[in-house]
Symmetry: C2
Subunit: 349 residues, 2 copies
Amino acid sequence: MTGSSSIGLHRVAEPVGVLPQAAWRLDPSPRLWPDETRVRVQRLNLDAASFRQLWTENGGDGDAVRAAVLGIVAERGKMQNPVTGSGGMLVGTVEEVGPASPLGLAAGDRVATLVSLTLTPLAISDRLARWDGRSEQVPCDGHAILFGRSIVAKLPDDLPAPLALAVLDVCGAPALTARVVRGLCGREFSGPPSVAVLGGAGKSGSLALAAARRAGAGRLVGVVPHEGEAAALKGAGLADEVVVADARDPVALANAVGEPVDATLVCVDVPGCEHGAVLATRAGGTVLFFSMATSFPAAALGAEGVAADVTMLIGNGYVPGHAELALRLVREEPGVRALFDARLGESGG
Amino acid sequence: MTGSSSIGLHRVAEPVGVLPQAAWRLDPSPRLWPDETRVRVQRLNLDAASFRQLWTENGGDGDAVRAAVLGIVAERGKMQNPVTGSGGMLVGTVEEVGPASPLGLAAGDRVATLVSLTLTPLAISDRLARWDGRSEQVPCDGHAILFGRSIVAKLPDDLPAPLALAVLDVCGAPALTARVVRGLCGREFSGPPSVAVLGGAGKSGSLALAAARRAGAGRLVGVVPHEGEAAALKGAGLADEVVVADARDPVALANAVGEPVDATLVCVDVPGCEHGAVLATRAGGTVLFFSMATSFPAAALGAEGVAADVTMLIGNGYVPGHAELALRLVREEPGVRALFDARLGESGG
């Protein structure tokens, strides 16, 4: 049985017995259990859906938004928007490491959490005085607690922080892609496996394309929604073929991909892409869903409805070594770096 | 690219370009395309959710329920409840087989469809005169069209029809279980893989337990919600250990399962079992979700939240040979047969 304290059960204040993510209230007291780590918080990155809800509910009044965030953290011991259920991530500096912590951190390390704020004990000490309440980026002084099984990445010195955070935000996708493609390479196919990536010009999509290539993929198809993204992805040189199609239109998507592929990766965050992904994949192939907009019943019943014998995987956000792999890809693949830089430039980040 | 007619795109009347399941209206005309099959319908089994909605909307008036079903089929060319979106299955006799049909059927075969009524062209010719509108079982005369890639099972002569239909309804679970367990056997573990089945005394759960055993599983744990089901499952002899736990309580479930297993199969149709299934599974293991109540984000974020490196599979309802395997299990495994008979007896079926 899993050691209970390693996932933070002892920090659940209410209701007792649930996991930290499902808890209403966590205990954020600064004193550490042996396998815990305390981080001095410098910035919170609120989840986009959470910030949008707070902004709307408070009529675009930044002071009211700030008061709302302070109220949530004071009441719940974590930053989890009670309406959207979502959180975000944080950046800070390691302050103290428990003697039994397995995370490999030392005091002074700059880190970003890769688990959600929804399960991270948090206390704010500066009343968020440096935040105007008008952006998801929240300058903050306070402390947060990491558990033995928390996931955290040291921030690299050689990359701008906004770029590193954007990469870390989607770092599960390339790692799982690499594992799946390597697995397909090991089977008795005629040649290296073909792979289609829906949303190939996006953050997770471009990393997935680069990871698939390195893992041994053959034909690589990038699917994008319009000509603007097609030009960007062609310029990046990450795919052998770049096609424009609406991933929500199964027949159009399958026609655009052409010869069905060994694996299809769904990296677009719009609902309704399940049937198209199944149709674009050959019998015996694999569909890997990274999009949080994926509907479980649509995938299960959709494959049955067309008698498609495909393996369908839920994109687990955690794969050992995922942060290191994603950072390496953005360092070493100019095409990935160019796509990220363009997106961060657009958003002013 | 998938041949379009084999999944029935040519039968989509409105809107053009979507798959039959997503269509508002199908063309149910009896004339066959070369790879199609026409079935003379004897009975419709409406999906439970659909019947309940019709019953409630029509105030428990059987005549009004019958009129509603006739209206839906006349308007849509298929039996898909416009509120619930669900359908059901049908039983009938093969009337005509197109020259290019790959289904291996002959006129006179008694069959059940294993794809949903939501994608099956259907016309009713007897005004449902033999149905009182008060049950999901609808005696019916009419015809239905099967496509080249439809999934259909011949009804066996040696099993009562209600039993065969109940088995066929969940036949994807044992087939995919067998494939996953065989895959785990091929890896370098110490000994045969251990497997936990949540809902082990249920229809899909008991078949999954029997399939796992035959595929080479070692320790088999059946998890049930209360002592009544525990006694039934112990009597059936399908599991090495039978434990009582609420699958929605992650910590209680993981404690009940004990040593984390190589694979956990989720066969209970209640929401909120994702975290428990992940916690009960060892690092590097597999979780296979058969429950339509599974939440994709809860699974993906839940595994990440506890840094669990587990492979999570969406239970595709279609695996080649699934009907034959499930029928063989209920014939050859007295424990499976006893659990099914007890359930069918309870429901009067």
